[in-house]
C-alpha cells in the first residue's frame, strides 16, 4: 500500500518534534512541591525522625542568596507561612499539599490548600486569596508584587503554644519556599531587591533554606541507616556497652564529597569513624601482655557549657618491626567494567603497588580478580619477587560484570594454599560496589566469611569510587572477617591506609575488643555516647565471648567520647520524675564511672578483662589545658555532629569548630589535621551558619532575633 507507506513516512517526521527545555524555575517548583507532597505522604513518625537530620542540611544562610532571590523567596514564603500557621494551630495532621495552577501564559500561582479541614476551608481560601502572590516569571524581568498588607501577612497568633507538631510543617514550608530561589543567570543579574520587605522578611525568611542550591551526595551509594545515640539517664541505664571500631571509611568518603562540593547524607557520617581517622599520640603499652592501653580525660564540652566530654583513647601495642610474622596476603580485585575509571582500578593498582613496596621478602602475595568470572591473576608469590607482582597488577583491565562471590571463594582458596606456620593471613577485597551475582544472600556471605575467619584468614575491604558503593555491605563483610573497611579516594589516602597504617590494618593484636562503661549516678546524671551507633552491644554481650566485636591492629588508636552531664549541673535534658522514688545512690564514690574492656588475643578464644576507674583526677577544668589530641577529637566530633544535623551540638558555628581544630593541630606530621580544617571550611561554604547565630528559626519561632549562641563561656565548675 503506497498510500500507507507514505503516511508512515510522513508520521515518522514526528520524531523530529523537539521539546523545548524546561525552565529552571518550573523545574525547581515542581521538585519542591513534590518533596512537600512526599513528606505529607510519609507516616508522621518517619517525618519526625528524619526532621533533625535534613533540616540542618537544607538550611542555607541568606548570605549566599542573591538579593532578588531572597526577596522573592520571602514573598512566597510569607503567605504559605500564614496558611500553615493557620492550619497547624487548628489541626495537627499532615497537610496534603495540592498545587493549584491557573492558566496564564507566564504566570504561576502557588497555593496550598489544607483539604482536610473543611470547616476552615473558606477562611483558608480567603487567606490564600488575600496573600497569595503572583510570581511573574518573565524571562528578562522578575517583578515581585508588593507585599500583602501587614494585617494579613502576620501569622495569626495561635491560641496555645506552637507544639511539636508544628515543626514538620515548618520544614515543609521551608522546602516550598525554595521554589524560586535558584535563579537563572538572567535573574541573577537583576539587582533590584524590592524595598520595604525587609521588615516582613525578618521573621520568617531569615534562615533561607535552599534544597537544591546545595547539591546532595550522588545517589547509588548505600549506607546503613541508624539513629543517633540518645541521651541516657544514668539512673535508668547506668551501663553503656559497645564494640570498638577502627574503620575510617566514613571520613574519607565524606571528605571526597565535600571536596567535590556535596554535602553528605547523614547516614554517611559516622562520628566514630571520623574521629578515628586521625592518629592520636596516646601512650602505647609497654609489652604485648597488655595489648592496648586506655588514656582518659574529662574536658569541657565545646558545644555545651553544662556538660563534659569523657574521652577514652586507646592505643594498641606496636610490635618491633623485626618481630613481625610473615604476611600472606591475597588481593581480591574487582575488575568489572565499572572499575574502569581513573579513581578506581588505576588508583587501586598504584595503591597496591605502594603496599607491595612495604612488604618484607618473606611475605607472600597472590591476586585474584573477579568480573564475569573469577580468576587467579597471580599465584602466591614471595614479595622478594617484586617485579612479578607488579606486572601482574599492571596487567589487570576492567571489563565484565561483577561476580564478587565466586571471587571470594577463590581468594580464600588461594590464600589457604599459601598459609604457613605462624603467617598472618588476610584477603584484601578491593571493589567499587556491591556483589550482584552468586551468593545473593548477604547473610550467607557473612557466614562464609565468618567460617574463614575461624580458619585464621581475615578479610579487609577497600572501597573505591563513588556512585555504586555499598557501604553497609562493605562494613559488615569487614566486621565479619575481623578486618577493617577503608575508603580510598586519592593516592594520598592509599598511602595512609596501606603504608602509614599498613601495619595496624594488617596485623591484628587484639580481637573482639569490647568496651563497657558503668556510670555513677551520684556524679553523672546523664550520658551520651558519641558515634558507635552501628557498634552498640547489649549489656550482657560484654561477657559473652561468642559475640563478635572489633579488632585493634598494631599501633592503632581508637577514641570513644561520651558527653556526660555532671549531677547537679543543671544541664539535664530529662526532668526528674514526680512519682518515682529517687533512691539514694548505692555507692557514694566520687568516681564518674568504671571502665571495663574485654579482648581476645588474635588466636585466643577466651577473653581477658582490663578495668580501671574513671576518677575525678581526670578532669581538665579548662579546654585550653586539654591536650591537643583531646581538643582535636572534640572538634572532629563537633564537626561530624553539625555535618549530619545531629540533635546535639548544632549550636557551635563552623568558625568555632575550625578554630578549635586549628588550635589543636599539634605536630600534625602528615597534614591530616590541617586537611580537616579545610574540610570544615568547605562545609561552612556549602551550609553556612545563619547571620548572627548558629541557630535556625526552628529553634526559635521568633526568628533568630534572640541573642548570641550559648556555645561558650560560663560553664559551672565541678564540685
Amino acid at each position: 500500500m503506497d498510500d500507507d507507506k507514505m503516511t508512515d513516512d510522513t508520521l515518522s517526521t514526528l520524531k523530529m518534534l523537539r521539546a523545548s527545555a524546561p525552565s529552571a524555575e518550573a523545574k525547581k517548583l515542581a521538585l519542591n512541591t513534590a518533596m512537600l507532597a512526599f513528606d505529607a505522604a510519609q507516616p508522621k513518625k518517619a517525618a519526625a525522625a528524619t526532621k533533625a537530620g535534613w533540616r540542618n542540611r537544607w538550611t542555607l544562610g541568606a548570605g549566599l542568596g542573591v538579593p532578588l532571590g531572597t526577596a522573592v523567596a520571602a514573598l512566597v514564603l510569607l503567605p504559605l507561612g500564614t496558611q500553615l500557621y493557620t492550619a497547624t494551630s487548628n489541626h495537627t495532621d499532615a497537610v496534603p499539599p495540592k498545587t493549584v495552577t491557573t492558566d496564564g501564559v507566564l504566570k504561576k500561582e502557588i497555593a496550598i490548600a489544607a483539604s482536610d479541614m473543611p470547616a476552615k476551608q473558606d477562611e483558608v481560601d480567603s487567606k490564600i486569596k488575600s496573600s497569595t502572590l503572583s510570581l511573574q516569571q518573565q524571562p528578562k524581568t522578575a517583578r515581585p508584587v508588593a507585599p500583602p498588607k501587614d494585617g494579613e501577612a502576620q501569622p495569626p497568633v495561635p491560641t496555645g503554644t506552637v507544639t511539636e507538631e508544628a515543626e514538620p510543617m515548618m520544614d515543609q514550608l521551608a522546602t516550598v519556599a525554595l521554589a524560586p530561589m535558584e535563579l537563572d543567570r538572567d535573574a541573577a543579574k537583576m539587582t533590584a531587591a524590592p524595598n520595604g520587605n525587609s521588615g516582613l522578611m525578618g521573621g520568617i525568611a531569615q534562615p533561607l533554606p535552599s534544597a537544591n542550591a546545595v547539591p546532595q551526595q550522588p545517589s547509588g551509594d548505600t549506607f546503613q541507616k541508624f539513629d543517633e545515640n540518645r541521651v541516657k539517664v544514668t539512673r535508668d541505664e547506668p551501663v553503656s556497652t559497645f564494640s570498638i571500631d577502627v574503620d575510617t571509611a566514613s571520613y574519607s568518603y565524606v571528605r571526597g564529597l565535600l571536596k567535590d562540593g556535596y554535602l553528605p547524607d547523614p547516614e554517611a557520617v559516622r562520628l566514630e569513624e571520623m574521629i578515628n581517622y586521625f592518629p592520636y599520640d596516646y601512650p602505647a603499652p609497654a609489652s604485648i601482655d597488655t595489648p592496648f592501653k586506655a588514656t582518659m580525660a574529662v574536658i569541657p564540652t565545646p558545644w555545651n557549657p553544662k556538660t563534659e566530654l569523657l574521652e577514652i583513647g586507646i592505643k594498641g601495642y606496636v610490635p618491633p618491626a623485626t618481630a613481625r610474622a610473615p604476611e600472606n596476603l591475597t588481593f581480591l580485585i574487582d575488575t568489572s567494567g565499572s572499575m574502569d575509571e581513573p579513581n578506581k582500578l588505576p588508583l587501586l593498582k598504584r595503591s597496591f603497588g605502594l603496599l607491595v613496596d612495604t612488604l618484607q621478602p618473606n611475605d607472600t602475595v597472590s591476586i585474584v580478580t573477579y568480573a564475569g568470572s573469577a580468576g587467579v591473576a597471580l599465584k602466591p608469590t614471595k614479595a622478594s619477587d617484586r617485579s612479578t607482582i607488579l606486572s601482574a597488577l599492571d596487567q589487570m583491565v576492567a571489563d565484565g560484570s561483577t561476580d564478587g562471590i565466586d571471587g571470594i571463594a577463590l581468594a580464600y582458596k588461594v590464600n589457604a594454599e599459601a598459609k604457613g606456620e605462624g603467617t598472618i593471613n588476610r584477603v584484601i577485597l578491593a571493589t567499587d560496589g556491591d556483589f550482584n551475582v552468586g551468593i545473593s544472600e548477604p547473610d550467607e556471605l557473612k557466614t562464609y566469611i565468618k567460617t574463614q575467619r575461624g580458619n585464621g584468614i581475615f578479610l579487609s575491604v577497600l572501597g573505591f569510587g563513588r556512585g555504586n558503593l555499598d557501604d553497609e555491605l562493605m562494613q559488615s563483610l569487614a566486621q565479619n572477617g575481623n578486618g577493617n573497611a577503608s575508603y580510598i579516594d586519592t593516592f594520598q589516602e592509599a598511602q595512609k591506609v596501606l603504608v602509614e597504617e599498613g601495619g595496624a590494618n594488617l596485623v591484628t593484636i587484639a580481637k573482639d575488643v569490647k568496651i563497657q562503661v558503668e556510670f555513677n549516678p551520684a556524679q553523672v546524671s546523664e550520658y551520651r555516647l558519641i558515634g558507635y551507633e552501628t557498634r552498640v552491644l547489649n549489656r550482657e554481650d560484654f561477657n559473652n565471648d561468642a559475640v563478635d566485636a572489633g579488632e585493634i591492629g598494631a599501633g592503632h588508636t581508637v577514641t570513644a567520647i561520651y558527653e556526660i552531664t555532671p549531677t547537679g549541673s543543671g544541664g539535664d535534658l530529662n526532668d526528674p520524675l514526680r512519682y518515682q522514688m529517687s533512691a539514694a545512690p548505692v555507692a557514694t564514690s566520687d568516681e564518674f564511672g568504671f571502665l571495663k574492656m574485654r579482648y581476645k588475643t588474635p588466636e585466643g578464644e577466651v577473653s581477658k578483662l582490663i578495668q580501671t576507674p574513671i576518677g575525678k583526677d581526670l578532669v581538665v577544668g579548662d579546654l585550653a589545658q586539654a591536650s591537643t589530641d583531646q581538643r582535636f577529637a572534640a572538634s572532629v566530633a563537633a564537626f561530624g555532629q553539625k555535618l549530619k544535623g545531629s540533635n546535639y551540638g548544632e549550636a557551635l558555628t563552623w568558625q568555632r569548630i575550625s578554630d578549635l581544630a586549628n588550635g589543636a593541630k599539634g605536630t600534625d606530621v602528615n597534614g591530616y589535621r590541617a586537611e580537616f580544617v579545610q574540610m570544615v571550611k568547605l562545609a561552612a561554604l556549602l551550609n553556612p551558619d545563619h547571620a548572627g547565630s548558629g541557630k535556625s528559626i526552628y529553634d526559635d519561632p521568633k526568628g533568630g532575633k534572640s541573642g548570641p549562641v550559648r556555645s561558650t563561656g560560663g560553664r559551672p565548675t565541678l564540685n
Partner: protein, 177 residues
C-alpha cells in the same frame, strides 16, 4: 534507557518507597526532564507541559508506592505522565486554548532541524485532532519511536489494540497529510 540509569532509578525507587526523602528528591530530579519532554510533545505547549510535569511530580510522591517493578520505571512513568496529560486535556478549561502559544520548538534550541520541525509541528497539529487513544498510539509509535509492544505496555492494552488504533489513525490522516 541505558542500563546504568535504569538500575539507578530502581535503587532510588526502592529507597523512596521506604520513605527516603533524599532518594525521592533525586529520583524526581533525575526524571523531571523526561516527564517534561513527554508532556511537551504531547501538549505542544510549554506552560501546559510545566503544569503537567509538576502535577506528575506531586503525584509520584504517592503513586511511587504503586510502582511494583513489573514494568520498567520509564514505561511506568510514561503511563503516569500520559494519564496526566489526558486528565488535563479532558478538563474543559484546557480545551479552548489559543494555538498561537504553541511552543514546541524554540529555533535557538535546534537551528539545524527547523524545517523538519516545522513539518513535524504541522503533522502534530493534525495528530492532536485525533481521538485520544489513536493520538496516544501514534505519538508513542512515531514520536517516541517505540514498537507496538512497548506502546501497548504503556497504554495498558494489547499489542493488537495498538496496531488497530494506528490503523484507524492512518485512515483518518491519509486524506489530511
Amino acid at each position: 534507557m541505558p542500563a546504568a540509569a535504569a538500575v539507578r532509578n530502581n535503587a532510588l525507587v526502592d529507597r523512596a518507597k521506604a520513605g527516603d526523602r533524599l532518594a525521592f528528591g533525586q529520583l524526581v530530579e533525575a526524571n523531571y526532564d523526561f516527564i517534561f519532554r513527554v508532556a511537551c510533545k504531547w501538549t505542544g505547549k510549554k506552560s501546559d507541559a510545566e503544569d503537567i510535569a509538576q502535577e506528575v511530580c506531586i503525584k509520584l510522591a504517592t503513586a511511587i508506592q504503586s510502582f511494583d517493578g513489573r514494568s520498567a520505571f520509564t514505561s511506568w512513568l510514561y503511563r503516569v505522565t500520559i494519564n496526566m496529560v489526558r486528565d488535563m486535556q479532558r478538563s474543559s478549561s484546557r480545551r479552548d486554548r489559543n494555538v498561537d502559544a504553541f511552543s514546541l520548538v524554540h529555533p535557538e534550541d535546534d537551528p539545524g532541524g527547523q524545517e523538519e520541525a516545522t513539518t513535524a509541528k504541522e503533522i502534530w497539529n493534525k495528530v492532536s485532532e485525533l481521538p485520544e487513544k489513536q493520538r496516544e498510539a501514534i505519538m508513542l509509535v512515531y514520536a517516541e519511536d517505540m514498537n507496538h509492544a512497548d506502546a501497548a505496555e504503556i497504554m495498558g492494552c494489547k499489542e493488537a489494540t495498538v496496531s488497530w488504533h494506528i490503523h484507524e489513525a492512518k485512515k483518518t490522516l491519509r486524506g489530511l497529510l
